[in-house]
Amino acid sequence: MEESRRDFLKKAGMGSLIGLGVFKTLDKIGVEDAFASSTKEGTSGTRLGLVVDARKCKAGCTECINACHAIHNVPKFEDPKDEVKWIWKDGYHNVFPSKSGQFIDDETKEKPFMALCNHCEDPPCVRVCPTKATFKREDGIVLMDFHRCIGCRFCMAACPYGSRSFNWNNPRQKDGNKLVGGKDIDPSFPTRERGVVEKCNLCAERLAKNLIPACVEACPEGALVFGDLNNPNSKIRQILKSNHSIQRKPELGTGPSVFYIV
């Protein structure tokens, strides 16, 4: 039962994308070749990722955060100690601590940068998990099995990006019908129980339905681009080819799949 569910999670994404004619859907939104390499070389050749074009990102805007947290039933705790977040804003120095901050231009200094799971090529969280509750899918997405997680939080200590949140408390309100923070529960995505770790899943559940990640779709500025980093013809690669991009803490050898244009 357990295994088949996990296999389903692992393969459902790719299988259904190809099976349901995803390319037509993705065509419309400009990532026509997101999965092109999967048809050529099989699923192992795919590495899904994001480009965050911080030049386009507007300071006061929270559209991507709202969209992500609404569809994934992310609760909102008042106390930062209990916080759960999948995608959020932080300062340049916090997102890129090893980059120079001396004499930095005012715009970069003030500007918020989006932080989320990097879906690393070689994820330390997966390496340390004692139960394989967090695992890397063949298309590069790092996923969580909420039903297997024992809540040891080894992955939180291992993640060098602070991308993981723990459910210190029940994310549902006492009566069970709303999330902490007052938002309604979206029945199309599971709520978590207290005691497990969660993080961005690059909208694996939406990809399985031919939809691009919610943050990418919600961004009014087109600052987020999703696609296959292993396909040299993909839009994401074209963008990376013509713009200078950086990754978070590349010196750690994790191979982040989220690239930033600053």
Binding site: P80, P124, C159
Partner: protein, 386 residues
């Protein structure tokens, strides 16, 4: 043999009762945690491990330190340790049980703990830690119990136990090495990312563990007819001296590398622990208490004749134990989370419920230790009279 633990003086019963009350309070607090989640603790998104995991780390060292009796006695045939080696093994049993309990109380989903073995993941150091800890527990129960049974019958221990005793030696080293591997293999945690973390763990363990053993041996001598012997205690003192100095040397190496290289990430946690970072300094006074106690204890160990006086020796052992408990049971684990991977300084302070759970686990360990020591002492006293 365990029935020996059921009878004792009034003081003995009061002690047991006192432990049971603390265990009860701990169970009450843990019931709250099970009901409400780990949100009742002081842990946070940034400081995601707290007192529980820090105590686990410290107690792995106490457990491993039994090897400082087993190795000289069984490998080098150092006879003076023959009388107290069982005290070391029984201390190891109590310490390993506490380690396991601290791991379990730290889990968000303790009912799923079996997943570690149902889905074994050799790439995870936690899998290996669970394996070597379980192995070490079984070995110590086996070796300790067989030796004590033989002693109660006044015969030599059976030969078949020897291989298990020898295996327990590398196991003792491995439990603390693998525990260090939990931390020192994580990218982006500069404070832990050091190749001497495992040797440093071992050095501090071989100072703190024997210090506790000396205190226990002196206590046992006062409450029973069993005397571990001055020679054994003095030899343990020598072990503590070397281990404490090596530990201090290792800490010095860390400080040199961090501050001479002048790399900010390597200095931050030291700054946080010993001076405060961005105005956050809740651990600073504790860390200095630890440092001063450690240095004073080492100085007393090195001044000729001081450690021969029982009062001074007791002070030295208490100082070493508290110093290393603060260093490892607080600073090392909590400090590793400051600053966070995104360079925020978030401080942690345990809640009352969390402290009650910690005390409850310690009380369970002390209860196990009391029962095992009582059992051993009744047998040893009986033999002493003969």
């Amino acid at each position: 043999m365990l029935e020996n633990a059921l009878t004792g003086s009034r003081k003995y019963y009061n002690w047991i009762l006192c432990l049971l009350v603390i265990i009860g309070a701990g169970i009450y607090a843990y019931a709250q945690q099970l009901e409400l989640g780990l949100g009742i603790t002081g842990m946070s998104r940034d400081v995601s491990w707290g007192l529980y995991i820090a105590q686990f780390t410290f107690l792995v060292g106490v457990a491993a330190s039994a090897v400082m009796l087993v190795l000289p006695y069984y490998i080098h045939n150092y006879k003076e340790f023959g009388r107290i080696v069982i005290l070391g093994e029984f201390l190891a049993i109590a310490a390993v049980v506490m380690c396991m309990l601290f791991i379990v109380v730290d889990m968000g989903k303790p009912m799923r703990v079996a997943n570690v073995f149902l889905h074994p993941t050799p790439g995870s150091m936690l899998f290996w830690d669970a394996s070597v800890l379980s192995g070490y527990l079984v070995l110590n129960i086996l070796c300790g119990w067989v030796a004590l049974t033989a002693e109660s019958k006044n015969v030599a221990p059976p030969k078949w136990i020897k291989p298990f005793i020898y295996i327990s030696i590398p196991f003792a080293i491995s439990i603390h090495t693998v525990t260090a591997f939990l931390y020192c293999g994580l990218p982006g945690r500069h404070f832990w990312l050091t190749a001497i973390l495992a040797p440093r763990f071992l050095a501090s363990a071989f100072a703190a563990g024997p210090a506790l053993l000396i205190l226990l041996a002196i206590f046992v001598r006062k409450v029973s007819n069993f005397d571990a012997g001055d020679k054994a205690i003095q030899k343990l003192t020598t072990i503590i001296t070397y281990a404490a100095i090596i530990n201090l040397f290792f800490v010095g190496l860390e400080v040199f590398v961090a501050f001479y290289s002048n790399i900010p990430g390597h200095m931050h946690t030291f700054q946080y622990l010993f001076a405060g970072l961005e105005g956050h300094n809740s651990l600073v006074s504790l860390m200095w208490v630890s440092t001063i106690l450690g240095v004073v204890a080492i100085a007393l160990l090195l001044i000729p004749g001081m450690k021969k006086k029982e009062g001074v020796l007791i002070f030295i052992c208490i100082a070493i134990f508290i110093s290393l408990w603060i260093d490892k049971g607080i600073g090392l684990i909590l400090g590793g989370f400051v600053p966070s991977p995104m360079e925020h300084v978030t401080e942690y302070s345990p809640t009352t419920l969390e402290i009650l759970i910690v005390l409850g686990v310690y009380a369970i360990g002390l209860l196990i230790l009391t029962v095992l020591y009582k059992t051993a002492l009744v047998i040893k006293e009986r033999n002493e009279v003969k």
